[in-house]
């Protein structure tokens, strides 16, 4: 009970600070919105080639995951700044649970991601996205979970390195290949003309299965093997992210 209260205290404080200065929430949303507006129309004539009837039902799930990955992976920068202000240390010297210090922040990222996701989907509708509403909600939930996992891992890395100079190259070198190999912009499949080696490489990227699952849920196809694998990988990422995160935050001298 105490643990939940502490998580909530941290979460509320973080939300208050973010809402007072929402610049980063808006900047985080700008990238996928730009993709939607400036790249989406190029996909429309290619819909049949990609293997879909509605280009946006294919494209918006990818952007959603991009939002989750990029937004949450860079959460660590905020923690480095907080550490520099002495806030992290001040919190660690209280009797509050260290896991609560992490979860309050992860929760913040998940909630902000949900808000950004709703805006993105609504904008998608304006462009011509159509699909199953219940499925979209499920897709959004999967995105939030992936975001939570990334946020936990990013916060752990930030607390370990305590340096933007280390964080920036590490996160950039992870996020860009992951993004491209997840098939967010175009499907990576031999059936739609991708070379075999590229498909083989992309098979090793968990987020590819998650994007495909979100695409299925958007069309209302829940009961597919693709959806199942997406959910399995999402849960695996959440478990891994939280494990690394709590381990780092509980370490006495982190």
């Amino acid at each position: 009970m105490r643990f939940l209260t502490e998580t909530f205290i941290i979460f509320r404080r973080q939300m208050r600070l973010n809402l007072r200065n929402p610049a980063w929430v808006i900047i985080g949303l700008a990238q996928p919105v730009l993709y939607l507006c400036l790249f989406g129309p190029l996909l429309e004539p290619l819909a049949a080639q990609i293997g879909t009837t509605n280009a946006y039902t294919f494209f918006v799930p990818g952007l959603l995951l991009q939002l989750g990955l990029f937004g949450a992976l860079f959460a660590g920068f905020g923690l480095v700044a907080e550490w520099r202000e002495g806030v992290v240390e001040a919190e660690r010297v209280t009797p509050a649970s260290r896991t609560a210090l992490l979860l309050g922040r992860v929760l913040r990222d998940t909630v902000l991601l949900a808000a950004q996701g709703v805006v993105l989907i609504a904008l998608g509708f304006a462009f011509g996205l159509r699909g199953d509403i219940g499925g979209m909600v499920l897709g959004l939930v999967l995105t939030m979970l992936v975001g939570g996992a990334c946020s936990a891992a990013s916060n752990a890395l930030a607390l370990t390195t305590k340096s933007e100079d280390v964080l920036a190259p590490v996160l950039n070198s992870i996020s860009l290949p992951v993004l491209l190999l997840s098939g967010i912009l175009l499907p990576i499949s031999v059936k739609t003309g991708a070379p075999q080696w590229l498909e083989t490489v992309s098979d090793f990227i968990p987020t590819k299965y998650i994007v495909n699952a979100i695409r299925d849920t958007f069309t209302g196809d829940y009961a597919t093997v693709t959806t199942m694998w997406g959910i399995v990988w999402t849960i695996a990422l959440v478990v891994a992210g939280l494990w690394v995160g709590t381990r780092t935050f509980r370490k006495e001298n982190a």
Binding site: R2, T5, E6, I9, I10, R12, R13, R16, L17, R20, N21, E82, R84, E85, G86, V87, E89, A90, E91, R92, V93, T94, P95, A96, E252, N253
Partner: protein, 324 residues
Amino acid sequence: MIHARGLARTFDTKRGREKVAVKAVAGVDIDVAEGEIVGFLGPNGAGKTTTLRMLTTLLTPTAGTATVAGYDLAKDPVHVRRSIGYVSQSGSTAREARAGEEIVDHGLLYGISAKQAEARGRELFDQLDLAGMWSRQPKTMSGGQRRRLDIAMGLVHDPRLVFLDEPTTGLDPQARANLWTHISDLRTKRGSTVFLTTHYLDEADALCDRILVIDHGVIVASDTPDALKRQVAGDLIELVLADPAHVSLAAEQLSNLVRAGAADVAGSLVSMRVPRAGIELPGLLRSLDAAGVSLASIEVRRPTLDDVFLTMTGRSLREEAGRS
């Protein structure tokens, strides 16, 4: 209040490809009684902050044991955290937050109710001359105000023992003097025990009942400021001669003051330490006059903690502080 035995911390760092274990703190014994204000004095890098971080549960010691506020550091860190307040060098509040909200949230993390935390916070703001700052953002406060806000953060749960890490570093002289009053108030008005680190000698001298001198991770002295100063063996008399030719004559007269004493000569400056300069001066002046030595000036220096540090470690604390 604090009893530490052989507390040590070793960090692994890389020198080139080799892994090297660096002893930041090489085993210190610390005893602080209830109601004391104890200063932890040493140059930058001596191990002050590392020791403080161990005593406040932020860093696990690699060796040694300690009880802090009655609880074992290793076995019961949560109770230690409940009983102590820690004011770090790096601050404790977000620049963009509101001061009052930060205090209340901090109190909530200690398990105090929101109402209590706010009442306590406002009371602390009044005591620390922060009245009217409740909804200000820390980024708009002066350095001194921010430091007092950090102290208020550390006191919101009414700790019996307060740790202050370099509380006045970076403040202007007025803000420092003002903060000193607040620090001594911690004991007189609240009955707290205070353990503070500093590399300012005047600060340790002005505030502390007792001083621990740390150098290279080892405590080299522990006593009251006055007793430490007495160890330096007396006051320094410095004579500047009007005529440098009389140097040996003056040195002889000065040396006569103390049995087996030998004055130092540097140019036209002749100096020596004597147990109590006040008693010696009248006789010294008379005998110098009789010997025909005329003085350009005479100066008596009481020993400072800087002299203590120099005697203990062979290095001046001011040089150290200036270098970093």
